[in-house]
Amino acid sequence: MPNKLLKQALSGQNPARMWRDHDLKDSYDVVIIGGGAHGLACAYYLARHHGLTNVAVLEKRYIGSGGSGRNTTIIRSNYLTPEGVRFYDESVKLYEQMSAEFDFNVMFSRRGHLTLAHTDGAVRTMRRRAEVNQLQGVDSRLIWPEEIKRLCPPIDVSDHPRYPILGALYHPPGGIIRHDAVVWGYAHHADRLGVHIHQLTEVTGIAVQGERVTGVQTNRGFIKTGVVLNATAGWCTTIADMAGVKLPITTFPLQACVTEPLKPFLDVIIVSGSLHVYVSQSDRGELVMGASVDPFASYSMNGSLAFVENLAGHMLELFPGLRHVRVLRQWAGLCDMTPDFSPVMGVTPVAGFLVDVGWGTWGFKASPVSGKRMAELIATGRTPDLIHPFRLSRFYENDLVGEKGAASVGH
């Protein structure tokens, strides 16, 4: 590695690009709309597992400019339904082996995830989640304030706060990762396998003839294709509208912020559903903090002071010692919220128009599994069992997958 670096420095040659630009071809076998982790993962697995390489990923801005570059990177599988637990658990396993698979450090840090309970009702939900998780073979259990304090010394487990901590759901495999590295890793390997990644390429229309997709209109020209995957998260209904497909989705902004860097003091992820806040400490020492979605639907990514004020108040209830720590920056991303807090994946009434959407505030952790399984669906024409529960038609069949109790704040 140092030799390579030295050679490049002395030769004046730039290192090879992670992914390259291409002219837009006038036809592709598969067109993926949205260059986030989901779209790129699907492209990668199409090429890697199924040999489908005549694939384009269309991204209106730059890859990772959506939620994939704005999330707080929490990865876990301690969900509430067996369907959810099984699905997210496959993703955690794919993340665990990602650095090796990519030969590129995605900085996955398995550090333990604690969801605090401040009410008897919350304790009951945690107990239920622990049972569901264990039945699926996922490491997850209910712990009490003494053990919480041992795992996280700076937290206030006394009875002083307005909502004292009664217990927590402890999930040792939970972790954080470098989100940009995940995006770049998928992009790099998809590129090397032959996938075309087109940035600054905005989809403006979808051609449908007789309930079947025939192509995609972009600001750079028309592409003929029989398969289109909508992986545009917060913008997904704008794309579905172009194909005449209805979705049960509303777009809400979700904000996050980081503090100035501190010495390492927090090596677990702390989430409080009741206080609507969560926090982890990044490798740079910054505290990465977030809450629940903004109070009204919007496509605007402006931050608000109200968000930081509320968050800071609740954070100080958990960690009074952070009183003098300053917030360094804040930002927002768009979340495609569904009624049951589960994603929408698979076929739609328009043949060849597929969706991988409804990722709300919780979808980054699912990029590997949804990419892998959507690729399988595209290549084989069969919906894999693992994602069948999340099909769009579940809403018409009254077969929702209610994950609100596990996804609304914890992400």
Partner: protein, 85 residues
């Protein structure tokens, strides 16, 4: 903070209000339509990127539900008015 004009109380901070979602009229003939149309009504959303008509409730104020036309891309409120006006 964005401000919303309550038709009764005037311009107030958005934090005084509760957002009630896009206007989603009930099917005019509830008994005549099938399950699919009911599902559309209950779950499917337009989620407009642009000006949409939506419900707001003045929770920490006069307690009135009213309508707003707001551009969801910029959060600019075009106008607010009472139902039927």
């Amino acid at each position: 903070m964005i401000q919303v004009e309550c038709p009764n109380c005037g311009l107030r901070n958005a934090s005084e209000f509760r957002y009630g979602g896009e206007v989603n009229p009930r099917p005019p003939q509830p008994l005549a339509i099938g399950d699919a149309e009911w599902t559309d009504y209950i779950y499917m959303r337009r989620n407009a990127a642009g000006v949409q008509t939506e419900w707001w409730y003045h929770r920490n104020g006069c307690g009135t539900w009213f309508l707003a036309e707001r551009d969801t891309k910029t959060n600019a409120v075009v106008r607010t008015y009472l139902w039927g006006k």
